[in-house]
Symmetry: none
DNA sequence: AATCATAAACTGGTCTGACCACTTTGGGAG
DNA sequence: CTCCCAAAGTGGTCAGACCAGTTTATGATT
């Protein structure tokens, strides 16, 4: 093995794997080469490949199906992060940081949307509004995620997804009746471009959780 | 092996490892049982133990020293952001996103500092002000980083450091003469707690870069 | 020809045993 | 008591072997 000298083999593999994904234009959800193929291609033992893959799996960057193959993770929920969280979030301070940082992203997104005539006019806001009116179940996370997505910053989306996964706030839960009014206020404010009002409603909403 | 295929073995090991750490009261920096010992104690193969350990290492939750042992990492410096970042930031298109997201963190920090009487009153602001007055060289990055640090969000700091590293804006450069006035305005506004004014000056400053 | 059941091939999951390289430790020489 | 070195301990990597699922190819039946 000539990978020896410098540093951590499995990190090298992670890096090379990233290159392969780029070269072969593998999209989220697609199958990536099998462990044995990777082992052959990268000229390392299969166990080393597996160590790298397991790391990525813990991060939710890939998914494995026994007997089926390994797939590039679709950018969606990884409950595995909870494990990590239980390690990291020992200190209450970290929890607070996650919380604050997540809200920062959300506020920024709301402001951006409110300031953009095109985004404000999207039918999705009416859709949310009506579904709340009808008493339909809506996950908090869905609304917030939509805001982040529409704000158009893909990097922020990725970061936010991570933060949301770590969040102790019940983002995954359904919108409760007492939140409805605030949320509707927020949605209307967004539609009308009232930035300050939208943020105010958002902040009140978050206080409820 | 009685570890059913119900759930990922390596996750079970991560969990059990956490228990061991708790039971034996292993503190950050302490050595954890060797791979062979864990393999024996948990009744699983050494390779499985390694897969679990590598996952935790990628996250920076543990550190390994070849020939020396494996140690519980200090809880604050997990690398989640870095790793995810390295996967995300390979797309060149996202440079604009990096820019926007970085500025979001900076604005948030400035607002927080301006709103906090203790932070506002810190002598560092006067120090920066005077050094500008005297025409001393100051790196833009130093000032911004100080803001992020003082805002007290360690997670945000981790994220920001990554963003700054990937930023195309010449953050590493020295403050130019024409930036001086704006920066001084910003510093004064921070000291006086004029949030809006501080942000305004910041935004004008960024436009220059 | 189309359908479906079955076998073969493939893929991930795990264990064992073997080396290597490096670090720590313990004991003996001085 | 100190210093040095061999032995033990530990992580790093690999090869091979099975097992357990999934997918694909095959071939017989209808």
């Amino acid at each position: 093995m000539e990978q020896k000298s410098v540093k951590k083999m499995f990190l090298q593999i992670v890096k090379q794997l990233r290159d392969i994904i780029a070269e072969e234009n593998i999209q989220p959800g697609d199958k990536i080469p099998s462990e044995r193929v990777l082992s052959e291609k990268l000229q390392v033992g299969r166990s080393s490949v597996r160590e790298a893959l397991r790391s990525l799996e813990l991060l939710g960057l890939i998914e494995t199906k026994h007997g089926g193959g390994t797939f590039l993770g679709s950018v969606q929920r990884h409950q595995l992060v909870e494990i990590v969280g239980s390690f990291i979030l020992q200190e209450p301070k970290s929890t607070a940081d996650v919380h604050v940082t997540r809200e920062m992203h959300e506020k920024e997104a709301i402001q951006r949307i409110s300031a953009d005539p095109h985004l404000r006019a999207l039918p999705i806001w009416d859709s949310f509004f009506e579904r709340l009116e009808l008493g339909e179940d809506i996950e908090r996370e869905v609304i917030l995620q939509e805001c982040i997505i529409l704000s158009g910053n893909r990097l922020a989306l990725k970061i936010w997804l991570q933060l949301a996964a770590y969040s102790t706030v019940p983002l995954g839960g359904m919108v409760a009746p007492q939140e409805k009014k605030l949320l509707q206020t927020m949605l209307k404010a967004i539609q009308l471009g009232y930035r300050a009002e939208a943020i105010e409603a958002y902040e009140k909403w978050m206080k409820l959780l």
